[in-house]
């Protein structure tokens, strides 16, 4: 039985507050607001500056992906899936392709697996760059956002050179990847990583040695270890509170077992799980990504990068189901795919980690905080509405 004393239910809590009394005010933050991380509405009830209740509203970004995928042939879905999550589309591409390959019994060449992993780590770095800008910006430090988005742009240049697209790469496909690495690309990657590192150094200097940031972010938005399992928290949100969970280590997929890295937790870098600590943790994970990318470029094997599936116009995949997950920047990203033996998927369910973070966890954490901090709190949970409702 959940501890309702400690974790009360939040349903229609707004009714508990008499809005006519003059002591409370309802404020809508969103769905279109620079202080939310995507189209999502926060129905806040404030008492002065303090938030006494939060009700989240999702659904503004429901585009019907999962249904669309049921109406398209297996190969026709890879251009769709990347659009589910814009900052890091590669996780979608990878999970869809890998689940399809598993159901179809296709094994892809080794180099393709390495390139996929490289892509995912680059996507992680790129996504975190945008996040970092958002986190700083939510507390009024807009300059950092300028820097990180620029560095992200250089990362997107790398993706453009490799895949032919900046944001929607459509590069990881069932069967492998779509074309080998172009001449000179690895050296471009290494150069860009050096530049990113320099900027990260600068950011860490001005952000983590920043009185304003410390005053606002330390002690705010604390996640305790017992909340992790209760709210289904994954990713940096969980690791910052000391829970050492990382799918890359726990359920080693792709070629992570061949790479040298440790799980970063709040304990291992000496921070608490407040907004400040989580920011420090994510910055450390960005450096971890850079190290992983360098390792992969160093060790990448030669070979083909694609094995062609049966004729994709009438490719029937044997009936079955599978669930694959990957560690994305926000936590556990999962694809549950069911095939009924026909040429189209029967069901594709996408598990976005933000659902629990942005709804249940956020509603729990918001009361008692200052309304000025709502944006910063939301960003620190690294919620991403498009993956909530797809």
């Amino acid at each position: 039985m959940p501890d309702r004393e400690k974790f009360p239910v939040h349903t229609g809590g707004v009714e508990n507050f008499d809005l006519e009394s003059g002591r409370y005010m309802k404020v809508w933050q969103g769905p279109q607001h620079p202080g939310v991380t995507g189209n999502m509405a926060l129905e806040l009830v404030t008492s002065g500056d303090e938030i006494v209740d939060l009700k989240t509203h999702v659904g503004y970004l429901h585009r019907g992906f999962e249904k669309l995928m049921e109406r398209r042939k297996w190969i026709q879905n890879f251009p769709l899936v990347c659009r589910i999550c814009v900052p890091e589309p590669d996780f979608n591409e990878y999970l869809y392709a890998a689940a399809t390959e598993e159901l179809a019994g296709i094994e892809i060449p080794e180099r393709a697996v390495w390139i996929r992993t490289l892509n995912l780590e680059m996507a992680r770095l790129t996504s975190f760059l945008m996040w970092l800008g958002g986190q700083a910006g939510a507390f009024g430090m807009g300059t950092i956002g300028q820097w990180t988005v620029t560095m992200r742009d250089f990362m997107l240049d790398l993706f453009e050179e490799l895949t032919g697209g900046r944001i929607y790469h459509m590069y990881i496909v069932p069967g492998g990847v779509r074309g080998d690495v172009p001449q000179g690309w690895f050296s471009h990657v290494l150069t860009t990583l050096k530049n990113v590192e320099k900027v990260l150094d600068d950011i860490e200097l001005v952000l983590f040695n920043n009185a304003v940031f410390k005053k606002r972010a330390v002690g705010l938005g604390v996640i305790t270890p017992d909340m992790v399992d209760y709210y289904g928290i994954t990713g940096p949100n969980a690791r910052a509170s000391g829970v050492a969970r990382d799918i890359r280590k726990d359920r080693s997929y792709l070629i992570y077992d061949k790479l040298d890295f440790d799980i970063i937790t709040g304990i291992s870098i000496g921070v608490d799980s407040d907004i400040f600590g989580r920011t420090r943790l994510r910055a450390a994970e960005m450096r971890q990504s850079i190290s992983l990318i360098r390792q992969m470029i160093d060790k990448m094997p030669e070979g083909p990068v694609h094995v062609s599936p049966p004729n994709v116009l009438h490719w029937k995949i044997p009936a079955g189901e599978t669930y694959l997950s990957a560690e994305c920047t926000r936590g556990e990203y999962g694809y549950y795919i069911v095939s009924d033996g026909s040429d189209k998927p029967r069901r594709v369910y996408v598990r976005g980690p933000s659902y629990t973070h942005a709804v249940a966890l956020f509603e729990h954490m918001a009361p008692g905080t200052n309304i000025a901090d709502t944006a910063g709190l939301m960003v620190s949970l690294h919620t991403y509405p498009p993956e909530i409702e797809r």
Binding site: R72, K73, I75, Q76, N77, F78, P79, L80, M141, T143, I144, W147, T150, D153, D157, E160, E161, L162, T163, G164, G165, Y168, M170, R178, G179, D180, P182, D202, L205, V206, N209, N210, A211, V212, K214, K215, P304, V305, H306, S308, P309, P310, N311, V312, L313, H314
Partner: protein, 592 residues
């Protein structure tokens, strides 16, 4: 909180003294990466309008549309892709699957216009500034969504094949057939090229899905000779197959054979429809070759009574008497013919029709169809060709069909370059002779099927091209000598094919035991009465018919080699089918 926490943030100022990162587009150009998926380009000359791009597009952004100046013929549908940039997401699946490689992308990504309708355009025809862009996305090396290689067909080795007349092609197994059928993209370009317009994508799909009954049904909708055509068809479909542009064409003929081979004759009735109710109309068909029997089949299915009159002792025409057994075993031809007969078609053998009986048939039957083929060989037209060691190609093949040894001797020369010449040469080879083929023009001009020429060469048959026949003379030891003049090919000023011109002084004699003349066939149409009596007009030894086989006399129809210029079995079958429908319309007074 330390002093550092108050001072450190001012370090952001250092950016003010560094070079800005911004690119001032459009003042500064910023081209897309080499592989960038930008706006589409299509090479109109390479594009065949197969429409596979339209099929794969996951957002229905592509429509195949007719374009002014693009003709739909000979393996080109005449359509071209029109792409709607309101729906396109630039995933490049269309480029990946393009069968000819004509569709690619430039790396351009900026297009501004006031008129929203321009964004639905036909790449390569609505000219755009990126049409000649050198960089952009095209299918990457080593990445293919199509299977370029055909599943190899098991066959007898050359040594094995030469020992007898046993069928050389063994046929696909179920696994091989399904794998080969999977290569088809169902574009349908083959359908227009097939003289019988068979539903090729349909029956290939039937093979892929293991639905043999459906396959049989689809075959018989347009062709009652699947076992025969599945072995010897000239497969014009395969010449235009879209997969054949960048790989091996789909083995359409072998897949057709696969379907027919799976069903025993007695089980045909389970898959195939029964004839319609009897109409009381009677049609006489002269000639039991593929043309005549096909007309008979479709007429019978429409409920009419049909009597087929055949001069020879058995049916099939050139399929039996021309094509040797190692290509088309007699029992397979008999299977096709027997099914037609079993539906109630009366076939009378050893009946020779002359002008008198033709007129009687016209009186006694409600309609007439004649498809008698080309049975009179052309002469060499040179001195000495009445030499007893000169034999006609068709005559030799006739003898072999009757089971007799043609006794050609150890060395044989075959004059001619068509299928009859190849059949005669390879038949002579199987009787142990050393065979040389002498042809007037170049090998590339030979009208025989390319496979026949290649297999003949594999079987050790020498081909001497550019050999103009001069005369035939006796040679020592009872042999015969073929005197020929080596030719050089000279361009035709009228733009036709190059012609052989005799080279002065290059006269040779080829000495052998037997010479086979296979230079073509014609016919006198000896049974046709005058036009004034029958209403049937003749032009240059061919009956004059409309595109549906009807002659000047509305009740008389013709088809097959005597009418069409392609002179193969499947064209005769197409003619027979068209004529049957035409006869039905005429008899039942239906609208076209």
């Amino acid at each position: 909180m330390s002093i550092k926490d108050i001072i450190a943030p001012f370090a952001v100022w250092k950016r003010a003294f560094e070079k800005p990162w911004t690119i001032k587009k459009p003042i500064d150009d910023r081209p897309g990466a080499d592989r960038y998926r930008g706006f589409h380009k299509n090479d109109g000359d390479t594009c065949i309008g197969c429409g596979t791009c339209e099929t794969i597009c996951q957002n229905a952004a592509i429509d195949m549309v007719p374009v002014d100046g693009v003709q739909g013929d000979g393996g080109d549908s005449g359509l071209r892709p029109q792409i709607d940039y309101g729906r396109c997401c630039w995933c490049a699946l269309c480029v990946d699957i393009c069968t000819t490689g004509s569709l690619t992308m430039s790396n351009r990504y900026v297009w501004t216009d006031n008129d929203p309708d321009v964004y639905r355009f036909i790449p390569g025809y609505d000219s755009k500034e990126w049409d000649n862009a050198e960089t952009g996305y095209s299918r990457p090396e080593g990445y293919s969504l199509l299977k370029e290689e055909r599943v190899e067909m098991p066959a007898l080795s050359v040594e094995e094949g030469l020992k007898s007349f046993v069928e050389m092609i063994k046929g696909y197994s179920a696994e091989q057939a399904v794998k080969e059928a999977d290569r088809c993209v169902e574009c349908g370009i083959c359908v227009a090229e097939c003289p019988a317009h068979m539903d090729i994508p349909g029956y290939i799909r039937a093979v892929r899905e293991g639905n043999i009954d459906e396959g049989m049904r689809l075959l018989y909708e347009t062709n009652p000779f699947p076992a025969s055509c599945g072995r010897i068809c000239t497969h014009r479909c395969e010449e235009v197959c879209s997969i054949g542009h960048n790989g091996d064409s789909v083995a359409i003929r072998w897949l057709k054979r696969y379907i027919a081979d799976q069903v025993e004759l007695e089980d045909y009735g389970k898959a195939l429809p029964r004839p319609e109710e009897n109409t009381g109309k009677k049609i006489a068909v002269i000639g039991a070759g593929p043309g005549g029997l096909t007309a008979a089949y479709y007429l019978r299915m429409l409920g009419h009574d049909v009597a087929v009159l055949e001069a020879r002792k058995a049916g099939g025409g050139m399929l039996r008497y021309g094509i040797p057994e190692y290509r088309l075993p007699y029992d397979q031809l008999d299977k096709d013919i027997e099914y037609i007969r079993g539906l109630g078609v009366e076939i009378r053998y050893s009946i020779n029709v002359d002008a008198e009986s033709f007129k009687n048939l016209e009186k006694d039957y409600d309609a007439l169809f004649f498809s008698t083929g080309l049975s009179d060989p052309y002469k060499l037209g040179i001195d000495g060709e009445d030499n007893p060691r000169v034999f006609g190609g068709l005559a030799v093949l006739d003898e072999v069909t009757a089971g007799k040894d043609p006794k050609l001797g150890k060395t044989v020369g075959v004059i001619g370059g068509g299928n009859v010449a190849m059949d005669a040469a390879r038949t002579a080879r199987r009787y142990g002779a050393e065979v040389t083929v002498l042809y007037r023009r170049r090998v590339v001009d030979m009208p025989a099927d390319i496979e026949e020429i290649e297999e003949a060469a594999e079987e050790g048959i020498t081909i001497i091209p550019q050999a103009i026949p001069l005369r035939v003379e006796d040679a020592a030891d009872g042999k015969v000598g073929f005197v020929w003049n080596m030719a050089e090919m000279v361009d035709d000023p009228d733009g036709g094919r190059p012609r052989p011109q005799p080279i002065k002084g290059e006269i040779h004699t080829f000495v052998c035991d037997s010479l086979i003349s296979a230079v073509g066939q014609g016919t006198n149409l000896p049974y046709l009465p005058e036009e004034s009596e029958s209403g049937v007009a003749v032009k240059r030894y061919k009956p004059v018919v409309d595109e549906r086989g009807q002659t000047g006399n509305p009740g008389i129809f013709a088809g097959g080699d005597i009418v069409n210029s392609r002179k193969d079995a499947v064209s005769a079958i197409g003619d027979g089918h068209a004529a049957a429908l035409s006869i039905d319309r005429f008899l039942m007074k239906k609208e076209a």
